[in-house]
Symmetry: C2
Subunit: 178 residues, 2 copies
């Protein structure tokens, strides 16, 4: 287990830049993974994340029935898996096998962590009231993991129609913003 605990108070800094994520679910004994980028922070701590998951996605039913997921953050070395998971459905495909992703047991949820992702957020569904109107699931992050070895590879940011922006340099400014 190369993954280290990551402080829940710092989770917003992983998601606020807007990376594409790989969202894993578990339904009965079957794990699945989907490519996802319609999400926003809703609260700092405990971290609340709002994820818009279309009911056309196979993961939708797994989220509703299990009330759990893991938000995994990939970097550009996983670009084939990111696109592949977005192009296929868990209905017909074992995406972990097909795209070379390794499921790892999570601590608090049944959905697996993806070993190859540099950060993994174990999430529990805490509010489904906005699912009927916007497919908006509100998750609380229960546990966050980071792989120190991978955290400098560029994240991927979806621009649509196959275009992905890769994270560039980070600058530090005199900000009072959290």
């Amino acid at each position: 287990m190369t993954k280290k605990n990551f402080p829940l108070s710092d989770v917003y800094g992983l998601l606020e830049p807007g990376p594409v994520v790989l969202l894993t679910t578990q339904r009965k004994d079957k794990p699945n993974v989907m490519t996802h980028s319609w999400l926003t922070m809703l609260e700092f701590e405990p971290p609340l994340v709002g994820c818009v998951i279309s009911n056309r996605n196979y993961s939708f039913a797994a989220l509703e029935s299990s009330g759990e997921c893991v938000i995994n953050i990939p970097t550009s070395h996983l670009q084939a898996a990111v696109v592949g998971c977005g192009n296929t459905s868990g209905r017909r495909t074992n995406k972990f096998a097909k795209f070379g992703l390794t499921p790892m047991p999570a601590k608090y949820v049944q959905a697996p962590l993806i070993k190859e992702c540099f950060a993994n957020l174990e999430c529990k569904l805490v509010d489904a009231d906005m699912v009927p109107r916007y497919n908006l699931f509100v998750f609380e992050v229960l546990k966050a993991w980071i792989d120190p070895k991978m955290d400098h590879a560029p994240t991927m940011h979806h621009r649509g129609s196959g275009a992905f922006m890769l994270a560039g340099e980070t600058i530090t400014l005199q900000s009072k913003m959290k």
Copy 2:
């Protein structure tokens, strides 16, 4: 007026990568601008955007009373304004004057466009039901503008505590995802 119409069907491609935005409001005759990055797409077309605006922000009351805003997307040449607008409050500061931002009249809303931003999204509040629980405002984008001259400068992506990731190169992959 150097800004050109931008198709509403393509708006998601501007926001999905996760750039920091400058959100402008107008209350009575007084415009204001805040730095913002807790937002997500909720629907493709007409574009719906969910923005989490803390009720501690001066813009909160302007949003509630006017039901309008403009989401302006800055690039790194505006980094001083992005941080400055995040460090100050419209209660005490005319941020446009202080940070060298030029307000321009919008077509459908009272809130101004920011001339120096490469994209500007005129927004109408369409759903405030989630404001009490999450400070989540749902806006419909009525009109989108782009400045073709600026659209290759890197956007800024907030990592917290003064750290901003600057957008890097864009790659194109064989994606079936919209």
